[in-house]
Amino acid sequence: MNIIVCIKQVPNTTNVQIDEKTGTLKREGVESIVNPFDEYAIEEGVRLKERFGGKVTVITMGPPQADSALRSAISRGADNAILVSDRSFAGADTLATSYTLAKAIHAAGKYDIIICGKQATDGDTAQVGPGVAEKLDIPHIAYVKKIESIENNLMVAERMMEDGYDVIEVPLPALITVVKEINTPRLPSLKGMLSSKKAQIPQWGAKELGADKNKIGLTGSPTQVMKIFSPPPRPGGEKLTGHVSEMSKTLVSKLKDLKVI
């Protein structure tokens, strides 16, 4: 089974600072990590390989330093990696990114399943995974919390919903995006770390992919960011104190006032 895992390198912070002048994320002095949701995608890919055989190829689009994210994936069991990197890819929105990744996956050869994290912690759009599937014209299941079975070229997976989960069957090749409930990512092994150091990671640019210049980078991005700002912090709530019976009464009357009940 040929498994492709798409990952992204993101800043290691839950509190992304925004440059007020340019409206872009401040990356200086912030350590880069593999997008936490992509860790689950890597782990699921490696687990599928352990179950069904085959190989796991990790792909990322990003600046040359995203190489370290790919090596981290190799240290956790991925077999090889491709760095999709070119100055002309810069400024890509989710549409251009989906196009570029789809071109790279197509160029990488035959695949059975593509796995992505449900979203990246910096942009939080959750659009690129499904976007790649659309560009490749293959089915996808987003928010997968469990792969139930893969048999006779059919995959059955559970899609997490707010009120439960859906069980969905798709023919392969297909793409899934995964949520953190799907597994517990392993730590790297020393042998994995050593081989990740030595791994040859090819870098593919627009030329190698045969990408349409009008569909990549800023040019290929219809999204225009007009303004970016940090929302004001939520004001502190009201804390009830006192005896339970009194607090319950106060709570009920307050909820009635607010017309919640």
Binding site: L187, P188, S189, L190, K191, G192, M193, L194, K197
Partner: protein, 390 residues
């Protein structure tokens, strides 16, 4: 301080730190409180390849040396000096095979230890033979192609949980110390049973049990080197393994130092963090200086041992090995005691980690030769060296 570790060594440290912080820290209280063997963590060690760091590549290890083992044990012990012992004590039980095993024995036992599938343990101590190890009473009588073992070992770390044991027994009691031999005995061998599990002051996540041999029949193929080589094997093993105890002690001390600094910066008394008081600052300065001195001595010793091994030299490095273990374990006791002092009343209760570190530190002054035995070794080496010069 910068010790110019190789890239591989930096990776080992990074990985050991990840395991310690992500896997061990959340459960360390549980294993201490319940005196349980930390199997899930041992599985993490296995998956990470850390168990084979010091074992040659041809036997499934990573081909490192004493220094690599030391770095891993130190890093794990910063968080928990008892859980790290599952790995360190396995190394102690492995060194006799590594140093004196024949090709067949190495091929049979080392790969399982390197992969972490099996743990090893070292069986020397007996109720009447502690510091006076050569007074052991366990016997091994030759019987055709076998030896019949009889006797009882006590205080055996990993006892009951390990699969592979290196056991010292006398094949010729009339010869005393020169009649001791070393055998590999597998768990499950008929006549090999486990006695009581000890309840201890510290290192409570580590199992310490009696090993009981009652007409236990062991193949002659399991004899390491030759009959009568036991004492030599034990001495060479201790030369290689004492840095491991030193690393455990160093790790515990370094962990206590870190906890103390963090606590001193946040604990407010008299309207200011206690780190602003010179009384506390001087304690921290002493702790840090001693920890760094212990580390420098241990790393220098370990690197020297590995360099000598790589050069094919067989000279024993007893003196420096004993110095490292003696110094690091004394430092561990002082530093952890001071850590409890810095924490004050909170240091004495189990909600905070330093009282456990103090309890765990004590054993490092005792096992694999007490501090006093280390001083005997050091002094003996000094006298021998001086006599040799004349």
């Amino acid at each position: 301080m910068e010790y110019f570790l190789t890239e591989e060594q930096q990776m080992m440290v990074e990985l050991a730190r990840k395991i310690a912080n992500e896997k061990i820290k959340p459960v360390r209280e549980h294993y201490d409180e319940n005196e349980e063997f930390p199997w899930p963590i041992v599985e993490e060690f296995a998956k990470s390849d850390l168990c084979g760091a010091y074992i040659p590549q041809e036997y499934g290890g990573l081909g490192g040396g004493v220094m690599d083992l030391v770095l891993i044990v130190e890093e794990l012990s910063k968080v928990d000096g008892a859980i790290s012992l599952a790995l360190a004590a396995s190394a102690l039980g492995t060194f006799p095979i590594l140093l004196y095993g024949n090709e067949e024995q190495k091929r049979k036992y080392l790969p399982d230890i390197a992969s972490g599938r099996k743990l090893a343990a070292f069986g020397l101590t007996e109720p009447g033979a502690g510091s006076d190890a050569t007074a052991l009473k366990t016997t091994a009588k030759k019987d055709g192609n076998h030896y019949i073992l009889n006797g009882t070992k006590c205080f055996i770390t990993n006892g009951g949980d390990a699969e592979i044991y290196t056991i010292f027994a006398s094949t010729n009691p009339a010869k005393g110390a020169r009649g001791i031999s070393c055998f590999i005995v597998e768990k499950g061998t008929a006549g090999f049973e486990f006695g009581k599990k000890e309840k201890k002051l510290g290192i409570r996540a580590s199992s310490t049990r009696e090993l009981i041999f009652n007409n236990c029949k062991v193949s002659a193929e399991n004899l390491l080197a030759k009959e009568g080589y036991g004492l030599m094997i034990a001495q060479a093993t201790f030369d290689s393994s004492r840095p491991g105890v030193a690393a455990q002690a160093l790790g515990i001390a370094a962990g206590a130092l870190e906890e103390s600094i963090n606590y001193a910066r946040t604990r407010v008394q008299f309207g200011q963090p206690i780190a602003s008081f010179q009384a506390i600052q001087h304690i921290l300065a002493d702790m840090a200086t001693e920890v760094e001195a212990a580390r420098a001595l241990l790393y220098a010793t370990s690197k020297m041992m590995d360099a000598q091994h790589a050069a094919g030299k067989k000279e024993r490095i007893t003196k420096e090995s004993a110095m490292s273990k003696y110094y690091a374990s004394e430092v561990a006791m002082r530093v952890t005691t001071n850590a409890v002092q810095v924490f004050g009343g909170y240091g004495y209760i189990r909600e905070y980690p330093v009282e456990k570190m103090m309890r765990d530190a004590k054993i490092t002054q005792i096992y694999e030769g007490t501090s006093q035995i280390q001083k005997n070794e050091i002094a003996l080496a000094l006298i021998k060296e001086a006599a040799g010069k004349k």
